[in-house]
Symmetry: C2
Subunit: 129 residues, 2 copies
DNA sequence: CTACGAACTAGAGTCGACTCTAGGTCAAGA
DNA sequence: TCTTGACCTAGAGTCGACTCTAGTTCGTAG
């Protein structure tokens, strides 16, 4: 299946700008093939790879680190331990991020509880009048 | 208890720059008192408020929204429902963020599993030689 | 033939949240 | 007296990740 940049944008939720940007930044596992008139032609594989990159980005992996990972994949067999290292390190960061977020959520939830109680007590009074 | 900006920086983990920046941005519930020589003097209350703001920031609330919340608090009693709205809306965003992060984490964990299996099988072969 | 929509490149611009600089005040210790 | 260190203001600079612009080139539909 051959896809234009616009179709890939639709399928991934990235903008066409972002797609060209990612390519320039070297975070496409395989060089994008060019069709007539120099237009990019993407494959399903490219889309799958992009979806993985989107996961990494969404969870806060910086572009340069995605590039390093991509480069390892491009180099081919033999560097799996390094790829694993990158992924495991990131996995740990995401876990910590979630712990932090949970802590924030607890604080906010506590505050919300207090305000809810207060606002309800005011409402009750108003009804009682 | 009176605290200098440096002491507050230590206690909150914010830089003195960030503290002045937050003040300029209007995200301090009560105007910071000034001591001799125009130096800022913070109270424990200020520190507590800042810790709350840090929670909000860490969980992704933008500075302008923290300012809106702060303004409501500064205005005093009567606008608790609005404060509650802001907090609840943010709470929901944080929850969604965590769901997303969990999804990313699952994907990454899946990948890590595959690579671990592969790397181990290679290691096993090497031992077998 | 012309106009349109979608693609192309190189490079400039934006946005949020700090971070840093320059130039200055002030109090305390050597 | 001199130096150091913590503080002050106003405003410039940075960083990451896009996003947008200008100026083209195509292929196709009217």
């Amino acid at each position: 299946m051959q896809l234009s940049i616009g179709q890939v944008a639709e399928r991934t939720g990235l903008s066409v700008h972002a797609l060209r940007f990612y390519e320039k930044e070297g975070i496409l596992a395989h060089q994008v093939h060019r069709g007539p008139g120099g237009r990019r032609v993407y494959t399903q594989q490219d889309v799958d790879w992009l979806r993985m990159c989107i996961m990494l980005r969404m969870s806060g992996m910086p572009v340069p680190e995605i590039r390093r990972y991509t480069e390892l994949v491009r180099q081919g067999d033999g560097n799996e331990p390094q790829r694993l290292d990158i992924l495991k390190e990131h996995q740990e960061r995401v876990r910590q991020q979630m712990v932090q977020l949970q802590e924030c959520l607890d604080t906010i939830t506590y505050k919300v509880g207090i305000y809810e109680e207060y606002v309800n007590s005011i409402a009750a009074k108003a009804v009682g009048q």
